[in-house]
Amino acid sequence: MKKIVAAFDGLNLSESNMKYAIQISEMEKCHLTGVFLDDRTYTSFKIYDLVFEEGVSEEKLSRLKHEDQTKRKNASLKFEQACISHKLNFNIHHDKNYAIKELIHETIFADLLILSRNESFSHHKETFPSRFITETLIDAQCPVLMTPETYADIEKIIFLFDGHPNSIYALKMFAYLLPGFLSLPIEVISVKSMEENLHLPDGQLMKEWIKRYFSKSEFVVLKGIPDVETVAHLQKERASSMVILGSYKRSKLSMWIRSSMADVLSKNFDMPLFIAHQTR
């Protein structure tokens, strides 16, 4: 039995993330741990809301704090009820320290993290990807399934293969963790530069491995710039496809200069992304 961790912001519960977590745990017969990141430094109100003409209202502060507490409690209750109604093995963690640190620690002791792509743990509006998402993807110690805003049943798997060890690692982890999806058709997409030939990178080895796990596989090799070609090719895909990709553990500077494929896909599509990278 595997242990899936689903992370939630109790002040803004993501319903679709909860649904993905429950459906997958039910299908794969996993133990589901709901991690509610009740970060003490994060509230639903802004400090500015407390200020009025005579200074800061203590009374208002305690009222707002109480409201936040109730909201968080209701969110975890909702999760609990959903798990009970699906007869899942589950438990709940309330982590009260800095959200990002707590979550990374949880991922060491988890097989898979399921997280909504919209989490930011900030009351400021952040454009995607939020700092929270970026840091989680870089430092997570287990694969991450990043879920979109709306839920859709998965009917197809798409694997973005760039020949880099990280992408094979992501595919292996997918096969080990979610065997229930192996009967679905898989499309392997590779993008090569204009000068290269149209052979799949390490084609023979790749096919030898993939045939052990997936029964229906299709291989597509495109030419051009990876970000552009992948987005163009995926236009026809629907939200019912899940995309697997390896992500780089890159330095902050290079993240700054060029967004990663995961960011590009999340901006353009409403598909769940399965992301894994080697951390060494």
Binding site: K2, K3, N91, I108, R212, T279, R280
Partner: protein, 274 residues
């Protein structure tokens, strides 16, 4: 279905690795890939990986060597046919360098290495430079099997609270689920009695999902001095351990109890690798 690779030098025939693969095959069919590397190029295999700038001379195989390798390949094929194992032969003869073996491991689930034969002709300490390098560079999990062993009936997890040791536990559970139902002992070795098991509630929560018969205990032993004595009493056991960081790998490895276990050819060792 898992894809398992056995890498060997073409001269030696590591019976124990094959026996281990065949025993795994009985639980769940495998694809066994024999990666045949000629002995004469072994030294160069690792040398290339060191990134020496100057071009190097790769000695070609002697004709008699080639015959011997062919003989071993046919032995491998006979073995697989007899056991009913689906197999492939990859001859990475002339383009031989560390990246080749590394690439093979990238597209495999598990690699089985023989503790004695993988490097035998090259001499040196056991586990020698070649094996340590292999454990460091591979991109899939590795099982190191001694010549004489009993098929594992007990698992011993060497847990130290590190990310690598938890990663190894997860990999083992994914790759060898048939062994996860065996009695499993999760040990934290520390001679200091004030030290508690790190993150005990977390590791308990994770490990008990994967191992149905799990005991967690702290053993107050000096790992380096007494662990091998303790382990030698545990016949039919298998150790699960995380790998060490790439930078300090060889020093750390040589100082660790794992190196002793492999050196004394005691029991199989599973090293979870990313």
């Amino acid at each position: 279905m898992r894809k398992i690779i056995i890498a060997f030098d073409g001269f030696q025939f590591p019976e124990s690795s094959f026996r281990f693969a065949a025993q795994l095959h009985q639980h769940d069919p495998i694809l066994l890939t024999g990666v045949f590397l000629p002995q004469s190029s072994y030294a160069n295999l690792w040398a290339f990986a060191d990134g020496v700038g100057a071009p190097m001379f790769v000695p070609h195989l002697e004709e008699s060597d080639e015959e011997l390798v062919e003989k071993n390949i046919s032995h491998f094929e006979d073995f697989c046919r007899k056991e009913g194992i689906e197999y492939r032969v990859h001859k990475d003869f002339y383009d031989l360098a560390m990246p080749e073996l590394k690439k093979e491991s990238r597209f495999s689930d598990l690699m089985i290495l023989s503790a004695q034969h993988f490097y035998e002709e090259n001499g040196g300490d056991t586990p020698n430079h070649y094996l340590i390098n292999a454990l460091q560079e591979m991109e899939c999990s590795v099982i190191v099997v001694p010549d004489q062993y009993e098929f594992p009936g007990v698992n011993i997890i060497a847990y130290d609270g590190s990310e690598a040791s938890v990663f190894a536990i997860k990999q083992f559970a994914y790759l060898l689920p048939e062994l996860s139902s065996n009695p499993t002992l999760l040990t934290y070795l520390n001679p200091d009695e004030r030290e508690k098991i790190p993150f005990e509630p977390y590791i308990e929560e994770l490990a008990s999902r994967h191992f149905s018969d799990l005991t967690i205990s702290k053993i107050e032993l000096d790992a380096r001095k007494y662990f091998t004595t303790w382990i030698s009493e545990k016949k039919s056991a298998l150790i699960i351990s995380g790998s060490f960081g790439r930078s300090s790998f060889s020093q750390m490895f040589k100082k660790s109890f794992l190196s002793e276990v492999i050196r004394q050819h005691l029991i199989p060792v599973f090293i979870g690798h990313k």
